[in-house]
Subunit: 221 residues, 2 copies
């Protein structure tokens, strides 16, 4: 009998700032990674950049659909403006997989970061779950600054509040977060909390702008 | 010329858990307080309770309109369900005064704390500012647990994120917060952030329920 091969973590939209930041941090933690992109060449370039930054990292690039096919867990890290398109029927097959939603539906208008309405209501996380009813969606990482994720010289800090309707999936994501030094997973329960996580991102982005900072949060129990 | 007498801090709706908690904490800090209520007897009882808990405190009770008249700064601490009524034209004269909005438009449904829609849109803070255009509204204290405010044996902790459209008013509220040990004021700028502060309350209340906790937050800069 063959030893089980650990399935990689796929990062769909892994060439954007948040996606590449998560790929870098999970590569440092020793996770095998597949960076997905709509354009294969961009995925390959991003994977090469992560391997250059993290010697010995098991990181590959692939088109999004291929990245997802091999993965056990998929990080969905596309800009909100591209979310509806990537969720279009049949584009990504995610049935039964854990899908970590890190999408933040926000935009700056006149210097103010605003939470945007989501098609169908609620949060980006709920929009993803509606489009992919057989995926195990967990919203997480919405309140960590991408610039800090990408800068491996700076330790991360703060709490990663997560939510989702599948308790076992939340526990698996919490275990994944525990692999990242100094971060603590905080389980908020139902996916309906994703709207509040997304609102918190808007608040933190306004604080960042005002205080020229890269804020994250800690929950004080 | 007479020495300036410090005008009291009025707490409208000061007999509810959050209002009485703030009255207690500010009484400990040596602020003169007037607790307001729709019913004079309840205001007087609450004031007596605060004086009993904080010997030497300068705390009085009054009907809401009278409490407001003598105050320089007014904490508006009514349940969201009673907000429209208290904002009805002419009921409270708050022109030129700093109004600290601590209202959270949330409700529990099937065990889940939900952010409620606000008449006219946006946040409770913006609803107050729309109703009282000449008041200097600052939203604050929305993310501190009332039960902890009321328990003087337990030190407070965390950041009080505040927002409002009048920068001088925000600075005055920040100075007031600085009088409460261990709390830090974090200025988020425009009042439009109030919606995000209120969403954060819903998230914290869901965390409280799930983890049997009384959470507050820290912003990590």
């Amino acid at each position: 009998m063959l030893a089980a091969v650990k399935r990689p973590l796929a990062v769909v939209g892994g060439t954007g700032p948040e996606g590449i930041g998560l790929a870098l941090r999970f590569a440092v933690a020793g996770e095998p990674i597949v960076i997905g992109s709509r354009v294969l060449a961009r995925a390959l370039d991003a994977a090469a950049a992560v391997r250059a930054a993290v010697p010995g990292a098991d990181v590959h690039g692939a088109e999004n659909a291929d990245a997802v096919a091999s993965a056990g867990t998929v990080v969905l890290s596309v800009p909100f403006s591209g979310l509806a398109e990537i969720l279009a029927a049949g584009r990504l097959v995610l049935d039964g997989k854990i899908v970590i939603d890190v999408v933040v539906p926000v935009a700056f208008r006149d210097g103010f970061c605003e939470l945007l309405p989501v098609p169908g209501g609620g949060s980006a996380g709920e929009m993803i779950q509606r489009a992919l009813p057989a995926a195990r969606v967990v919203s997480a990482f919405k309140n960590l600054p991408a610039e800090r994720l990408r800068d491996l010289a700076v330790p991360l800090e703060g709490d990663v509040v997560l939510c989702g309707n599948d308790a076992a999936a939340r526990a698996e994501v919490a275990a994944l977060i525990a692999r990242l030094p100094r971060l603590r997973a905080v389980d908020a329960g139902a996916l309906a909390n994703a709207r509040y996580l997304e609102a918190l991102t808007a608040l933190l982005l306004n604080l960042n702008r005002r205080h020229r900072a890269k804020t994250s949060i800690a929950i004080l129990f």
